[in-house]
Amino acid sequence: MNSNVTSIKLVLLGEAAVGKSSIVLRFVSNDFAENKEPTIGAAFLTQRVNMADHTIKFEIWDTAGQERFASLAPMYYRNAQAALVVYDVTKPQSFIKARHWVKELHEQASKGIVIALVGNKMDLLESEEDRKVAKEEAEKLSQEENLLFFETSAKTGDNVNEVFLAIGEKIPLKKSDGSNTDGLRGTEDGRIDLNKPDDTSNPNSCGC
């Protein structure tokens, strides 16, 4: 067990029913549940990831996407070091909402917050016609807003771990004395252990 543990407060934002809780469930429990009940308020979960000689403890706030709870969002992204703004690749409206969240985060959240734009439900794309949010469009937004970008499927697990790994790599890690350094990120040769039994992730892949 690594003794150097860095906690990262991470918040998931996005329109209702885009799969935020499913992404978290896949990441934390490597599981998927159909017809998941909508989140009320927010759920809180943690997951540890070993990266090189360091352990990152993700403290994940999975917020409710319903408009009713929008006023609570600032409570959750306050002091967050990372955020996943999730949209459904088959629902253009959710991408609009994602843009809104990215803007709000840039305006209201902590400076230096690492934001990952995540297009979920890739498993629903049987043909290109099913896609309603163009990848290029999302990539363009990511470049403009300096976001990480991934297209994922919580159902199959595709790219889910990679999102968190990329965030872990991008966030400066704490030294044992508490100071931050960029030098402790996992190198290309460094082992990255997601501590998961059926880890299928490729630590070198990048969705950007």
């Binding site: 934390v28 009320i40 927010a42 809180f44 409710a64 006023s71 409570m75 959750y76």
Partner: protein, 872 residues
């Protein structure tokens, strides 16, 4: 009592789903005419407030029997609902809030305190700390426009400080009382009192359509739970915040907007809108808060968390059954069981913090003690137990419960660890004070010494574990046992309970292994274990006699030591008696000594006899008495022979003994020596050895011969000592004189039986050599011998006899007689060796005589000549 209550019967039956919390009645019948709004429990007193201003005071006359002892109205003028009762127990006062008016009451009588004016326009209050020095409580009083910090003594309520903060509807101060988590208007806010800064967080009601009552409750020491929602009927959120206003846990989704929220450790209890249901959530890390239990009643009821807990006996029966110690391996004693139950009952003090109340009555709502909730012996129980057993315990009950759980923890570890190894031993040793290490030994299937008691709740589980043959999880059980013993001695040598039996249990395991290996080193075991070890070794006394002796020498147990020496090594026994004669116990009697000496001498050698004699000397024994007390004749004779028999009695005993023995030996000897005698007699070799020598050569290796020789010799000595001159036993038993020839010197025998008889005996045996030795210059004897030899018809015998004994025949007459006896069948040449010397000697003699005659004649002539000369 109004008509409504008559029409609708009050349901006192709570529907409680399976779970941790249990409802138990305190007072089932309360006046039905009131709606109750608050309650407090103080010692044996329960104070109840109603929405119509009635204040009821119950007192617990007997255990569990509450009686209404007073009923007063808060306000005599008009009915005003009681909003809260706050106890100030250190000053025997209480504050009662009713529709903005705060009044002080006396405790425990619960009567208004006179001369202390009520304070008006109070919306809420928060009790802070009590100062022992000033004997006053600090308290925040909230009004519409101010927050007042007041100090409350038994005599007055004094405003200490005012904060200009308005419209607080509900508030909870932080631990340091520097900030408030409050509901201001429709928002939850953090209020920094020092700078009177109000930081809004979020709304109580998410819509403006419906106003919801704010709820702020402490969650742990520095967190709060607040509720927000849309309406009373829809589900709402319980949000847990810290002092910085940050949400720290996932949302607690409550079925509808609650009237009250109470936090009990990690459980959130919500009195749902309508007051007919209590919903209990568990807050668990990495899981959404989930409802674990519901408590329902058709009659509305409220829940409150008491300022100070009371002791409930609700779970005593179950707890006693679990916690009382019962024998795992020991005699079950009824009185001990009763004692145990009584002891545990005295220790149990389950605190109850919550009460539910209403028209249905007053009930305790108590979380089951943790140990009663354990239903799984699976591996997943281990981390739960571990977190519990590391908590600090203060009361005896907590210690008792913790001990039980620690015991269970090591049992579960034993079950679930892949191997029973040193790590497991270390775990057991960590809890050695509560978990008797012998239970582990028992689980491994070994024998246990001493009484082994365990909590009754763990009895069945322990027996089950025992049946699982867990010893197979040990790669090297002996190594484990040795490690355990070493660690016990290193780490808990002083504090180990019943250490003698613990070590004994371990020692016996080691011992049995050593026995199997054929080795046993006494120093390996505890001195306290020696007795049992000796008992065990006694089953294999022969193989382990040395170890046993070593143990008895260490324990200075002389009696069993003597016993084992007696059974294994008589010589060593005598030797030990000699070296330890001063340490012999009183129980070692003279009779035992006599027996030991007898036994030792039965199979004796010279050293043994020497040791016995030394022992007799060391112990200064009365020899006569000793000898007389010895029953075994052989031993007695041996001692008499060694010590010397002086009395006639002893001599007679010896005489009789030898007589009997000699008779037996002789008859055996005769049986076995028949053939050699005939062989000797028929052997006509003149130069053969004498009969006595022949017998010795032929029979010398036979014990009968030795015995006869030895016993006969002794017998003769005794006969001599007893002066028995006639009728010797030898005469009776030795008709053939073989024995006497054997054992008796020929001169003695000659003296006893006479020459004639003796000669006859030897002649009859054809003992030529001995006969020759008996020859005397006696013509008769010679002639007798010659007659006998001639009768043998053996020329060689007669010729050799005559040749060798020529010297005995000096007389001519004898010679003539001999020559006449010699039959003509014997040739003269055969006798030349005999005759030639005789004849030569005869010739020489004649010649010598003639010379002598001449000399004499010459002498005579000379004398005559001399005479003639003289005459002339």
């Amino acid at each position: 009592m109004n008509d409504d209550t008559k029409e609708k019967p009050i349901s006192t039956a709570f529907e409680v789903t399976d779970g941790l919390y249990a409802v138990s009645p305190l007072i089932e019948n309360v006046p039905h005419e009131y709606e109750y709004s608050c309650i407090e429990y103080y010692g044996q007193h329960i104070y109840l407030g109603s929405t119509s201003g009635a204040l009821l005071h119950y007192y617990e006359l007997d255990v569990g029997n509450f009686t209404l002892i007073s009923e007063v109205n808060f306000n005599e003028d008009r009915p005003t609902g009681i909003d809260g009762i706050t106890l100030l127990p250190k000053i025997d006062r209480a504050l009662v809030l009713s529709e903005g008016r705060l009044k002080m009451f006396l405790l425990p009588e619960f009567a208004p305190a006179s001369n202390i004016p009520s304070i008006m326009n109070i919306t809420e209050l928060s009790l802070l700390e009590f100062c022992e020095k000033t004997q006053c409580y600090s308290c925040f009083l909230y009004t519409k426009n101010l927050v007042k910090r007041v100090s409350i003594t038994s005599k007055e309520i004094k405003v200490e400080q005012k904060y200009n903060i308005k419209r607080i509807r509900k508030a909870i101060p932080s631990k340091d009382a520097k900030l408030l988590m409050a509901a201001v208007d429709n928002s939850y806010s953090i209020i920094h009192l020092e700078n009177e800064l109000v930081t809004p967080l979020f709304k109580v009601s998410e819509t403006d359509d419906e106003e919801l009552s704010p709820i702020v409750t402490n969650f742990g020491k520095s967190e709060y739970i607040v509720t927000c929602g849309i309406s009373n009927d829809q589900n709402c959120m319980g949000l847990i915040l810290n002092d910085d206003g940050e949400i720290t846990h996932g949302t607690v989704v409550i079925e509808n907007y609650p009237l009250t929220v109470i936090v009990d450790n990690l459980y959130v209890l919500s009195e749902l809108h309508g007051s007919k249901c209590l919903q209990i959530h568990l807050i668990k890390e990495n899981n959404d808060p989930v409802v674990i239990q519901n408590v329902r009643n058709q009659t509305p009821f409220h829940i409150t968390k008491l300022q100070t807990p009371f002791i409930t006996r609700q779970f005593n029966k179950e707890l006693i059954e679990k916690l009382r110690y019962v024998p795992l391996i020991a005699e079950e004693l009824q009185f001990r069981e009763e004692q145990e139950k009584a002891y545990v009952a005295r220790q149990i003090a389950v605190e109850c913090h919550m009460i539910i109340y209403g028209k249905c009555g007053i009930y305790s709502l108590c979380r089951k003690p943790f140990l009663l909730t354990i239903s799984s012996y699976g591996e997943d129980t281990l981390p739960i137990l571990k977190s519990f057993i590391t908590e600090e315990s203060q009361s005896n009950y907590q210690l008792l419960q913790k001990s039980y759980l620690q015991f269970l923890y090591v049992l579960l570890l034993t079950l679930h660890m892949e191997h029973i190894d040193k790590d497991l031993i270390d775990a057991w040793l960590k809890y050695i004070d509560v978990a008797d290490i012998r239970v582990l030994i028992y689980l491994l299937g070994f024998d246990i010494y001493g009484d082994l008691w365990i909590p009754n709740g763990l009895l069945a589980f322990s027996k089950k574990l025992h049946s699982l043959k867990l010893v197979h999880k040990c790669n090297d059980v002996l190594n484990i046992i040795q490690y355990l013993k070493f660690q016990l001695k290193e780490t808990c040598s002083d504090s180990l309970k019943d250490s003698a039996n613990v070590y004994l249990s371990l020692d016996l395991i080691l011992l049995r292994d050593n026995i199997a290996k054929g080795s046993s080193n006494v120093d390996e075991y505890e001195a306290t274990s020696y007795q049992e070890i000796a008992k065990e070794l006694s089953k294999h006394k022969k193989e382990h006699s040395e170890t046993l002796i070593a143990i008895y020498e260490k324990t200075k147990e002389v009696t069993p030591l003597l016993e084992i020496l007696r059974q294994t090594d008589q010589k060593r026994l005598i030797n030990y008696l000699n070296t330890h004669f001063q340490e012999l116990p009183d129980t070692y009697s003279k009779e035992m000594l006599t027996d030991d000496i007898s036994s030792a001498l039965k199979d004796y050698n010279d050293d043994t006899v020497s040791d016995v004699l030394q022992l007799i000397n060391n112990l200064n024994l009365d020899v006569k008495r000793l000898i007389s007390s010895i029953e075994d004749p052989d031993t007695k004779v041996l001692l008499l022979e060694k010590l010397g028999a002086s009395s006639t009695q002893d001599l007679t005993f010896l005489y009789e003994y030898y007589k009997a023995k000699l008779t037996v030996l002789n008859s055996k000897l005769i049986e076995s020596s028949n053939l050699p005698i005939t062989e000797y007699i028929t052997n006509m070799t003149y130069n053969k050895s004498p009969f006595k020598e022949y017998l010795k050569n032929k029979l010398g290796e036979k014990k009968e011969y030795e015995g006869c020789f030895d016993v006969g010799t002794k017998l003769l000595k005794i006969e001599k000592a007893l002066n028995i001159k006639e009728g010797s036993i030898i005469d009776d038993i030795d008709a053939s004189f073989v024995l006497r020839i054997m054992i008796t010197d020929i001169s003695v025998l000659k003296e006893k039986i006479g020459f004639e008889k003796l000669l006859d005996i030897y002649l009859s045996r054809n003992d030529f050599a001995t006969v020759e030795s008996l020859l005397q210059a006696n013509d008769k004897v010679v002639l007798k011998v010659i007659d006998h030899y001639l009768s043998l018809n053996n020329t060689r015998v007669i010729s050799q006899f005559l040749n060798k004994n020529t010297c005995c025949i000096n007389d001519s007459g004898l010679l003539i007689e001999i020559l006449e006896k010699i039959p003509p069948t014997i040739q003269i040449s055969v006798l030349s060796g005999f005759l030639f010397p005789l004849l030569r000697r005869k010739d020489e003699s004649t010649y010598n005589l003639q010379i002598k005659k001449g000399i004499l004649r010459h002498r005579t002539q000379n004398i005559n000549n001399i005479e003639r000369c003289l005459e002339l």
